[in-house]
Symmetry: C2
């Protein structure tokens, strides 16, 4: 009997993960018998699943909810729930309540089950744990000095995950996701939105705005690569990790100019012509504080696989979202 | 009107700090009008203080206590309160309650005062935020991967201190203290106890046990140097710190063999003859997980001053504790 729990199952990553588990029918080589999906709104069950599914709506930070979620002793828990960066900065209390207190309640709920219960917990952290100034490529031993409350909350949860794992209460792995690109859906107002927008909008025949210079460098992973990270983390032999349970995932580091040239290769000059440069100093200042490149030797050695190129990232969007 | 608050005022560092403030009469160049001392047991007021003193006994992790402590808006807060490493490892809940929840309650209490209140908060962190494997000397950008719950709690508080400072709720500085040597008082059972014991016991005509090889390297600071760090942090212009609010303090890195040769210089062969080697594999394993040396360029550039040598560390013990 293998049960999987996805906390934050209604988000973009959560829905794609549920779909993938339904398609695979297995996780870490084990046949899935039951999938439980939690989110603040009731998550949709994946289509075509050959296992039992259950959806739970509830506030992750409410005392008692995590106890309910782990009472059935799920074998693998994907913890994706989070207040995003902008909201955690705008609402200090809410960010700490969901991103920190919620995670701590989950860890405590797991610990309190007892009787040798020690699930694999895959926690999605973020490259926001790093804060400028940076080296050219951030290595595996670079310190966490976040410049947002969101990054602070993720960095704290990484420390808790490692300590609870070291003490034998949980078998945790934290994965720091790069920026997900190409994000499906509508344009949004996130400062990072343009990284996806300058690809997604032209591929859909719409104009896109580029608010930063083409020299800006950033690291990306496709949603498909992110699924690969999550599933690989779920099945990884954690004895190879030692006490350092948090890993920077490998991505594709490119400049905006290189993104645009990849778009030209895939969709031609007409698509590129839909990108309009409209410099925005506010966005530029935010983006200048972000990391540009990584040297994630550990995760590569542990078998985590990045997209092959930014061109592949674009083709994955076409295949998975546009059905091409 | 300048008020100073010492949280953890009954401990070794807290008592020495109160005495020093009483002797100086000032902190960060400002005349002290009132000193408030808090601890779980009522701290003794320093002798000869020319300012008002007040002692408060109470559990630092009890909701409401920190609100009471900051209601009078102390200008400088020294937060020294902690469950020590061994106890935080033995009692998981107590460690998190005091070392993490207590600190968070303090930060929240400060934030809730409002009206522009933004005290200088000097937080004593620890080199326990670092976990093996280490480089030969730990630089200012090395990551925090603690191997104890105590180190985890200190690393989390560092992150909170930085975020609350970045948001403008407090003006925090975290100082990572090296091992304090020579600790006054009786031998204790801490794994690190022998670093002080092999100096203190011979200087008091008693036998000392050395449980590790003489090749073991470690970093030390005298209690007097630690006072210097605390007072310098209290008066530092924090605008020079940027967002990175936590600093590794400079110490004296020596092998046990070098400690012993320094003892020989100060107190002769007869003192050294009182050291008995009695290898203890348990202690050796613990000590092998500890950092050996640091390269704390930031704190040195900011004017924090280490002891000149291990010989000076011994002479400080003689002067301050033995009245020589």
């Amino acid at each position: 009997m293998t049960e999987v729990l996805i906390i934050g199952g209604a988000g973009m990553i959560g829905r794609k993960l549920a779909d993938r588990l339904a398609a695979d029918g297995t996780v870490g080589g084990k046949k899935i018998d039951r999938l439980v999906l939690q989110d603040i709104v009731e998550p949709a069950a994946p289509a075509g699943a050959k296992f039992e599914t259950r959806a739970i709506a509830g506030d992750f930070s409410k005392p008692g909810l995590s106890d309910e979620l782990v009472a059935s002793k799920p074998d693998v828990i994907f913890h994706l729930a989070a207040i995003v960066s902008g909201e955690a900065e705008a609402d200090f209390d809410k960010g700490y309540r969901i991103n920190l207190d919620g995670t701590r309640l989950l860890l405590e709920a797991i610990r309190q089950v007892g009787g040798g219960y020690k699930p694999r917990l895959v926690f999605t952290s973020s490259i926001a744990v790093f804060g400028a100034p940076f080296p050219d490529a951030i290595g595996d031993e670079f310190h966490s000095t976040p410049l947002t409350s969101y990054g602070t909350q993720k960095a704290i949860c990484e420390l808790l995950l490692a300590d609870y794992s070291r003490r034998g209460f949980v078998d945790g792995i934290g994965i720091r996701l790069p920026t997900i690109c190409v994000r499906p859906g509508k344009p949004n107002k996130a400062a990072s939105g343009f990284f996806s927008g300058i690809i997604r909008e032209p591929l859909n025949g719409m104009e896109a705005i580029l608010p930063v210079p083409r020299s800006v460098r950033h690291t990306h992973a496709s949603p498909r690569a992110a699924m690969g990270f999550l599933l690989h983390a779920a099945g990884l032999d954690s004895s190879t990790l030692g006490a350092r349970r948090n890993l920077t995932m490998p991505g594709v580091s490119v400049t905006v100019a290189e993104q645009i040239e990849a778009l030209r290769k895939v969709a031609g000059d007409a698509a590129v012509a839909l990108i309009r440069e409209e410099p925005d100093q506010t966005i530029r200042t935010i983006v200048d504080g972000w990391s540009r490149n990584f040297d994630p030797q550990r995760s590569l050695a542990l078998g985590f696989r990045p997209d092959a190129s930014f061109e592949e990232i674009i083709r994955i969007y076409q295949q998975d979202e546009l059905g091409k």
